[in-house]
Symmetry: C2
Subunit: 171 residues, 2 copies
């Protein structure tokens, strides 16, 4: 399964590790990514098969469901961690489906406010219920202790990552 022993080694490709090769962190990152992708692909597939909708659209509806007064495109962009231009297209398509409504803000003519239509809310709720069941299945072998351990470890990771982002990059 591991090809390491078959790699021919010469003087240049040294086996001796660098003092800080961050090997465990790399393995952790890989595992985190694999795990997330695995689940994400499955959620995507079920949304498509059962509701004929994409994950980004579902996510956008989920954001709106928690904002009774609607949200601006900019807020959506921030919360969903995607670009402004991306939101423009998503909102276009969802509005075309009649699931959301887009209206200008009263005070600022640059701003657009989007909110769920009655149909959008109904549709989202039926999806959300099934989605919760799928997620429950996927995590079903984790004990409550496992879950809370994972929660706090991820919280720590998030804060560590944010600190590295703010400090390390020129922003």
């Amino acid at each position: 399964m591991d090809d390491r022993t078959t790699i021919p080694l010469d003087a240049e490709t040294k086996v001796t590790e660098r003092p800080d090769d961050h090997k465990t962190e790399l393995r952790l990152w890989l595992r985190l990514l694999t795990c997330t992708t695995l689940i994400e692909n499955e959620v995507r597939r079920r949304l498509r098969d059962n509701f004929d909708i994409t994950l980004p659209r579902f996510d956008l509806l989920a954001q709106l469901e928690r904002a009774p007064n609607g949200m601006t495109l900019g807020e959506l962009s921030q919360r969903m961690m995607v670009s402004n231009g991306n939101i423009t297209g998503l909102v276009d398509r969802l509005a075309g489906q009649g699931l959301i409504l887009r209206r200008p803000a009263p005070n600022d003519r640059r701003v657009q406010i989007v909110s769920l239509t009655a149909e959008g809310r109904r549709f989202f709720r039926s999806m959300a219920r099934e989605n919760a069941d799928w997620i429950g299945q996927i995590f079903s072998e984790l004990s409550p202790g496992d879950i809370s351990a994972l929660m706090s470890a991820l919280a720590k990771t998030k804060s560590s990552a944010r600190k590295a982002l703010d400090g390390g990059a020129r922003r």
Copy 2:
């Protein structure tokens, strides 16, 4: 921050929770996804700014670096958890850049084998070194104990998810 109390409730939208609403699992999934996306976006940005390359291309090169004899497109597709058609395009572009080589398999004329060129290997290694440093930074506030806890929790999650996938869906 939580708008729950402002939503008007009638007899139909009950507040009393369903016996199995999987609320904690949902929160866990959300946190997992947020955390991964945060890191992934940062890695993407740094790869672009520093090496003018995309994450999918970097990932493909990483797969090839571990396979001294090259890999078939099908193997790449499986390992990277993306579709076949996706790999076709990625390989086209990377071959166009001169970073990988694509040759027909000797025994089976359906099969294409791709492998790193010397330039591809050199380029990948220089990127990989910096990438490891970034990942190290990002996880730098986690203790060794945190890391191993996260590793094992993710392993458990992965196995739980796989079981739910194989069983729950018709596959």
